[in-house]
Symmetry: C2
Subunit: 205 residues, 2 copies
């Protein structure tokens, strides 16, 4: 059986990775999604267990201590993290699983799971990124400046990812990521069982 | 500018990599093809400079001595090799180039160009491989036995390649390889110029 693929998607704030991942999920229902745990306040319409698992700081810190998170990070004063147990279960079953996390978190996952598929989503330009952050309407001027300032440093982090995808349009970016996932499913290290069985005189298909 | 991708395709004898690469080339005229040098006799219909560069053993050995080959190997008593100069020129121009070579040659290329894209094509089963070798009609019983015997060892070599593709049908295999190539064009190491320019406040598209 083919092993599951741990897909990690990051990008500078405002690149639109949430929207791209939503379309990717809709078009590829075979990819499981990891719901992150967070201490940030829920935005209107967000549901616990669907968009995030919402926790108090005390709860979150207990999860860190108990080793229940694949990675976690504090971003703009809030904790974000990835519950470990469900991911391990799904990968063992051959299910591909998608993590949409920030660069700090992704680098922690890379240390623990170097065989993951690391994709970095970038905006077409810094000018375009600024436009998108302004359009979101949830940013204060201070937080906008902070996000733009850190974008350049975050883009540099992109060099740690295997693939880079430009978010020209949501559909195009989602399709390009789907193609990368489809290609990576052919990776030899995920298909060792198939290669081994091929050496015996029996049909593999 | 994106760097060119060196695509290396191998597989056990009789897997059909020649036919698959022909379809891949026809469907993807943007991929340049490396014409190999060889000392084996030309088969009916093969043209010098198109299918192979046909050489005498003396000429071939002079090319080895002069370092004019990216890789070379002796297979079933004949030399096969890849002329280096044209490949370097095309990669520098951002052109992707396809090498269809045996596992020995591929492993030599891997040492010199670890950033190449290494794809291993396998038959659906050993039984199917035997059928295809028989159907070719150009094999003696002795050479057929030898090829089948070495197929198992060659399949083990597949673990040295990043991707494995099963040749269920020529069109399917050619399409799957085309998708892998398309995905790998997003590799960060081929797109460093784009990432660097993105950090400046200018449009990259």
């Amino acid at each position: 059986m083919r092993k599951g693929l741990l897909i990690v998607i990051s990008g500078p704030s405002g690149t639109g990775k949430g929207t791209v991942c939503d379309v990717l999920r809709k078009n590829n229902p075979d990819i499981a999604y990891s719901v992150s745990a967070t201490t940030r306040a829920s935005r209107p319409g967000e549901k616990n267990g669907v968009n995030y698992y919402f926790h108090t700081r005390e709860e979150f810190e207990r999860m860190i201590e108990n080793g229940e998170l694949l990675e976690w990070a504090e971003v703009y004063g809030n904790y974000y993290g990835t519950p470990l147990k469900k991911i391990e279960e799904k990968l063992a079953q051959g299910i591909d699983i998608l993590l949409e996390i920030d660069t700090q978190g992704a680098m922690n996952v890379k240390k623990k799971c170097p065989d993951g598929l690391f994709i970095f989503l970038v905006p077409p330009s810094l000018t375009e990124l600024e436009k998108r952050l302004n359009g979101r309407g949830t940013e204060t001027q201070e937080s906008l400046d902070r996000r733009l300032g850190s974008a350049v440093a975050e883009i540099e982090m992109g060099k740690e990812y295997r693939y880079v995808v430009v978010n020209k349009s949501v559909e195009t970016a989602a399709n390009e990521i789907a193609e990368i996932i489809k290609a990576e499913r052919h990776r030899t290290d995920l298909n060792i069982d198939m290669l081994n069985s091929l050496k015996q005189r029996k049909e593999i298909l």
